[in-house]
Amino acid sequence: MLLVFMLSLQLASYDTMKSSMLRIADGFGQFQIEGYKEDPEMDKVIADPAALLADLERVPGITVATARGTGFGLLASGERSFAVAILGIDPAREPDVSTLSGLVEQGRGLTPEDDDAIVLGDGLARNLRLGLGDHVALLGSGRDGSVAVDVLEVVGIFKSKVPELDRAFAQMPLARFSETFLMAGGVHAIAVSGEDLPDVVRAEPELRAVAARHGVVYLSWAELRPDVEEAIAADMITAVLIYVTLVVVVVFITLNTLYMSVLERTREFGVLLAIGMKRRWIGRMVWMEMIFLSLFGNGLGILLGMALTYWVQQVGIGIEGLSEIYESWGMPARFYPAMTPFRVLFGPSAIVLSIAVLGIVPYRRVLGLEPVKAMAS
């Protein structure tokens, strides 16, 4: 029961963690010019984003793709100025890829009709002492190295609860971004999304093929956010240790019980040997008993585990006091387990298989029985 629940919760939590963190800004995958991620220079652009976007519409599992430009510069208001990352987004498509525009707490997110609009993180707005309707000066470096200057109106303030984003991140319309940073139609990235992360992961070979055709590279979620993958891998080590320990404990408790039942029936086996039953028949009978009993026990455990998991799936599970920490990582405060055949069957199958293999111990004991000694026990 516990094994079914644990694995369903653990792996579903990882899925939630990955999806939540990727959905804030990155998307489930990105196309870039090779080397842009390591060294994000302004002139490393995808020159013909429209053609790439058109190709991506035909990739199964990809529900939306959106172009982005990323610039770095200063936002200034009055005497104050702060270094920021400015993301040029397509207001029509971006909300389907990232959740940042949905986190606007004051004002509104960007719309396709916007021109000189900007949405700021709430930390940045506070630092610049800006409110809705205020204007902010942008000073950066254009694609060709010239100075990029613009004045934009604050139409929205978002609060992601990720301090780094809220302090140093802003969004503006991609068209205006292209003008300001002299992008000449180029973009720095095309982010993709799907119904679920696994859909996009499955589409990876085709996405890489598309990238190759357009002379760009495709970065999977793990390549985009190695920190997330490493965090999951680190957590997984502990989880696997706990899980394996639980499996080992269950296997040994079950084997011990079954082995004791074999020991208790030594006399009975002696009688069976005396009346002509062969040792290997008795051994096989004991082995089959073990497998059937473990199948029955595990079947019951699976049903109870599924019932528990289903219930928690409805109500969710949260850890008191940790919800703020989770939110600061862009994750929901409550986690919901999710069952798949693998998560439900892996643990119980490991137990049944272990018992089937370790059942050789009582089997060998039966093979070594002598009728007289067995009947005298």
Partner: protein
């Protein structure tokens, strides 16, 4: 007529060196078909050990046992199982029935091991139940039967495979006098009707009185071997 059981120079020693116990010493014995022979003697005289050797349940230290013309020496464990299944019937002091099976199923079990068809198993088991006087109790489990009834089931189980010899070790030891007498009568009548050979290890004077042959053991040797008139 050839003996159904032959023992030649049979010895069995448990342990080694100074701790060695000579349970059987150079036994020569022939049991003829249709005999009811009793093995008597004080505790530790070697009755049970001799029955175990003849029943292929244990191996002698030296000597040879032959059952129904088949020498046991050199047979593999699997072949010994086959021999026990086909040629030897056992009746134990404490019945040793399988508690989760009914009387009929306990009897059928031996036939099942022999690969007898379900229909034939059923018929032969019912016939054996009738012979031991338990008709109507065939579906009862051992726990719901008296000691005497359980021992009758054990006799039926031993006989149903039509063995060459039935070995019984203290079959009446756990029975009251009435049931003990009834069991002795049963074995006697089965011997008369079917010529079944019985070799019975016992202290019970009622069994001894019914035997055709009385073998007295002492310190692992046959002290006396006398044929009676029963």
């Amino acid at each position: 007529m050839d003996p159904i059981v032959t023992c030649r120079g049979l010895s069995k020693t448990f342990g080694k060196g100074e701790l060695a116990v000579h349970a059987l010493r150079d036994i020569d014995l022939d049991i003829m078909p249709g005999e009811i022979a009793t093995l008597a003697g004080p505790s530790g005289s070697g009755k049970t050990t001799l029955l175990n050797m003849i029943g292929a349940l244990d191996e002698p230290t030296s000597g040879e046992v032959t059952v129904d013309g088949q020498p046991l020496g050199g047979l593999s464990r699997s072949q010994l199982s086959d021999l026990r299944l086909s040629k030897i019937g056992f009746v134990f002091q404490s019945y040793n029935l399988i508690p989760v099976l009914s009387a009929r199923e306990n009897i059928e079990f031996v036939l099942q091991l022999q690969g007898v068809s379900a229909a034939e198993r059923h018929d032969r088991a019912m016939e054996a139940i009738k012979e031991v006087g338990l008709s109507g109790l065939e579906d009862r489990r051992p726990g719901k039967m008296s000691g005497g009834q359980q021992q009758r089931v054990a006799v039926a189980r031993a006989l149903v495979s039509r063995p060459a010899v039935v070995l019984a070790d203290e079959p009446t030891a756990n029975l009251d006098s009435k049931n003990a007498l009834a069991l002795v009568e049963l074995m006697r009548s089965l011997n008369r009707e079917h010529g079944t050979t019985f070799l019975i290890g016992t202290h019970d004077v009622r069994v001894l009185e019914q035997s055709m042959r009385h073998i007295e053991m002492l310190d692992g040797r046959i002290d006396r071997d006398a044929r009676g008139s029963a």
